[in-house]
């Protein structure tokens, strides 16, 4: 990979350059935190944030989108197309970049590639930005604290400079056009190493690393723990809404008011919602909160590993804030840490 270095005061020129050429999306300060939004004023971009309320997932999988239009009278599809704008998403943290890499496995490198997702992914530049962990961050436990792939450009702050890894020619030429990138010196590399170590040391040490979490999910599938979590779950699905890797959806039809034409719509759905596994005839394969909460964590920490060899949790900590019933991966990790200790007879 190609590495270049720029001064931190060149950042605004880079942002302005991207803004001129693309629809520009970056974190901005909102009422209760930070959010990714379309920005046209460089001074509004807030790069010193721990995490945003929701992830950039929404720019690839909108919470609701029209897949096609149809005539209900003829029962046939009518011509319809989706306009996809070339975009830059700026200041994306490694957890969210790794989350996009996970989504790629499901939507792009999959038996039935998803044209809507792929078109958006192809037309979006991802500019990554290093960060320091907050108390709910545990990306280090899932190896998602670094973005080795999935970003066009990744900027690691080292003192008053950024060391930038470049993965695409498009990002690289913008950098050259608006900044004065230099080759990295040995001093820069040392600073890079120092910054990485500093980040590593800053993670919340109370969140346990449970190496064998996938196997534990199988072994303790019937544990009372899941009943306890299920009793607390309010089925609000906030966890799935803020999760950067939750990708389940619903497909349904919505008729226009005239009843003649309509849209086939895809919208976010969550396995924690009560009717998610309901089949025609009325049987619900996950009919209670215990089963639903357990299934969600099972898929995150074991199931996805079984099919894709990665855990589906990237440790961003968003659900820790979003869940009002305190059901989150940290609680699950702590539980299995205790269980593991019991097994050792400690």
């Amino acid at each position: 990979m190609l590495y270049r270095v720029i001064d931190t005061d060149e950042l605004s020129s880079l942002i302005r350059g991207f803004m001129d050429d693309y629809e520009f999306i970056a974190p901005v300060k909102a009422d209760r935190g930070y959010v990714f939004e379309v920005v046209d004023d460089p001074s509004k971009v807030e790069l010193d944030y721990v995490t945003t309320i929701t992830s950039p997932k929404k720019y690839f999988l909108p919470s609701e989108e029209v897949l096609m239009r149809y005539s209900a009278e003829e029962n046939e599809i009518t011509d319809y197309s989706v306009d996809i704008k070339p975009r830059v998403i700026f200041g994306v943290h490694p957890c969210d970049i790794n989350a996009l890499n996970r989504l790629d496995l499901v939507y792009k490198d999959a038996p039935y590639p998803d044209p809507y997702y792929i078109k958006r992914r192809e037309n979006t530049l991802i500019i990554g930005m290093s960060c320091m962990p907050g108390p709910n961050c545990f990306c280090n436990l899932f190896g998602t604290d670094e973005a080795r792939m999935g970003a066009d450009m990744f900027m690691q702050k080292i003192g008053d400079k950024y060391i930038i890894s470049l993965s695409s020619v498009e990002a690289s030429s913008t950098l050259e056009r608006y900044c004065n990138p230099q080759r990295a010196t040995d001093e820069d590399r040392k600073e890079f190493r120092r910054a990485t170590r500093e980040r590593e040391a800053a993670f919340n040490k109370d969140i346990p690393h449970v190496q064998e979490i996938a196997m534990m999910m199988d072994v303790f599938h019937r544990d009372e723990f899941w009943t306890e979590l299920g009793n607390r779950c309010q089925s609000c699905s906030a966890c799935a809404s803020v999760c950067p890797t939750c990708f389940c959806f619903d497909i349904f039809d919505r008729l226009d008011p005239d009843g003649k034409n309509g849209s086939r719509i895809r919208s976010w759905d969550a396995c924690t919602s009560p009717e998610f596994a309901l089949v025609a005839g009325g049987h619900n394969f996950r009919g209670d909160n215990r089963r639903r909460v357990r299934h969600r964590f099972y898929h995150k920490l074991n199931g996805f590993t079984g099919s894709h060899d990665y855990q589906l949790c990237v440790g961003c900590g968003r659900c820790v804030t979003a869940c009002k019933a305190n059901i989150n991966p940290i609680e699950v990790l702590k539980f299995f840490d205790r269980k593991g200790a019991e097994q050792d007879g400690e």
């Binding site: 050429d21 897949l67 046939e76 599809i77 704008k85 499901v106 039809d253 086939r264 099972y298 590993t305």
Partner: protein, 305 residues
């Protein structure tokens, strides 16, 4: 360097038939947008029971129809625009090319709307989806097929395919259980076949009924008299969820290897592509990894049985 304005949107068209020159093949048309249903005409409607009807359909576009190849055990997603889309298993054999048959139970909005349609009406079809029964692997062996209730719908595709290549198989046994005589589907076909020496039939209903002189009891009753050459037999099961555990147990008791006992799972498949999550069990997607699983695979899926 000159600044390149990149703000012009690119357009993704969901219409796949007009958008390309030279024209796409049927396979390419289907792959270009896998969410796009293709118009199909209802060519025949046969009522089977009070609630179930057999629909025969033909995809209108020549290229798509010719590219549509299914295997026994697979399903399609049927659309009635403005109402919705449902997954339904294919009941016809792949050897009946150009048409597919689906057996539909009137259960929800879409299936009710379908029951109100007439011959010549248009529906949307996409698919076929899912992992089928291992038809080629079964060749040269005895086959033991067990169906309960609506489970006969997907199994009929396999049964008819075996029928059309009968000499490729050894002994073929079919056990089919329905609640009442009125709920036996494809009764005429099975009654005609019951005189054939090359199919062993065991038709049973759950409880005694004045119009019934045949077997009474669960499908597991059949195993009391069945002779199974365990090392040479493939089993296939399709029915309501409660049936699997008992029938699998009987097949295993007879000595059929776990990886030769196949079962088709029912879940609510919405996308059919292993993505939307509705049909997920454990780490598997019923629509993609299934609906047909062998018993060994099923045992390894958390929450499957």
């Amino acid at each position: 360097m000159e600044s390149r304005k990149r703000t012009a949107p690119t357009t993704l068209s969901v219409m796949t038939e007009q958008s390309f020159t030279p024209p796409l093949t049927g396979e390419e048309m289907m792959a270009a947008n896998p969410y796009r249903p293709w118009s199909a005409r209802i060519t025949s409607i046969t009522p089977l029971t009070e609630k179930e009807t057999l629909f025969e359909m033909r995809i209108i576009d020549d290229r798509v129809r010719e590219a549509f190849h299914h295997h026994p055990g697979q399903f399609v997603c049927v659309s009635i625009f403005g109402v919705g889309e449902v997954p339904i298993s294919i009941s016809s054999s792949p050897s009946k090319s150009g048409f597919i048959e689906i057996c539909v139970r009137r259960a929800g909005e879409v299936t009710t709307a379908l029951h109100n349609m007439q011959c010549g009406d248009i529906v949307g079809l996409r698919g076929p989806y899912g992992t089928p029964f291992p038809f080629e692997e079964m060749k040269g062996h005895d086959v033991l097929l067990v169906a309960g209730g609506l489970g006969i719908a997907p199994l009929r595709s396999l049964i008819n395919n075996i029928h059309d290549q009968r000499s490729e198989f050894e002994k073929v046994t079919i056990v089919y259980g329905a609640k009442t005589p009125g709920e036996i589907m494809f009764r005429q076909q099975f009654e005609q076949w019951s005189h054939r020496p090359d199919f062993d039939f065991y038709l049973t209903i759950d409880k005694p009924h004045p119009d019934w002189t045949g077997h009474v009891g669960m499908v597991t009753e059949a195993f009391k008299t069945l002779e199974v050459d365990a090392d040479n037999t493939y089993g296939a099961i399709c029915g309501p969820p409660v049936m699997y555990r008992f029938v699998v147990e009987e097949m295993a008791k007879k000595g059929i290897s776990y990886d030769r006992i196949f079962m088709s799972f029912e879940r609510h498949m919405k996308c059919g592509m292993g993505r939307c999550g509705h049909c997920q069990i454990g780490h598997q997607y019923v629509c993609l990894d299934g609906p047909v699983f062998n018993y060994w695979e099923a045992k390894n899926i958390q929450g499957s049985m």
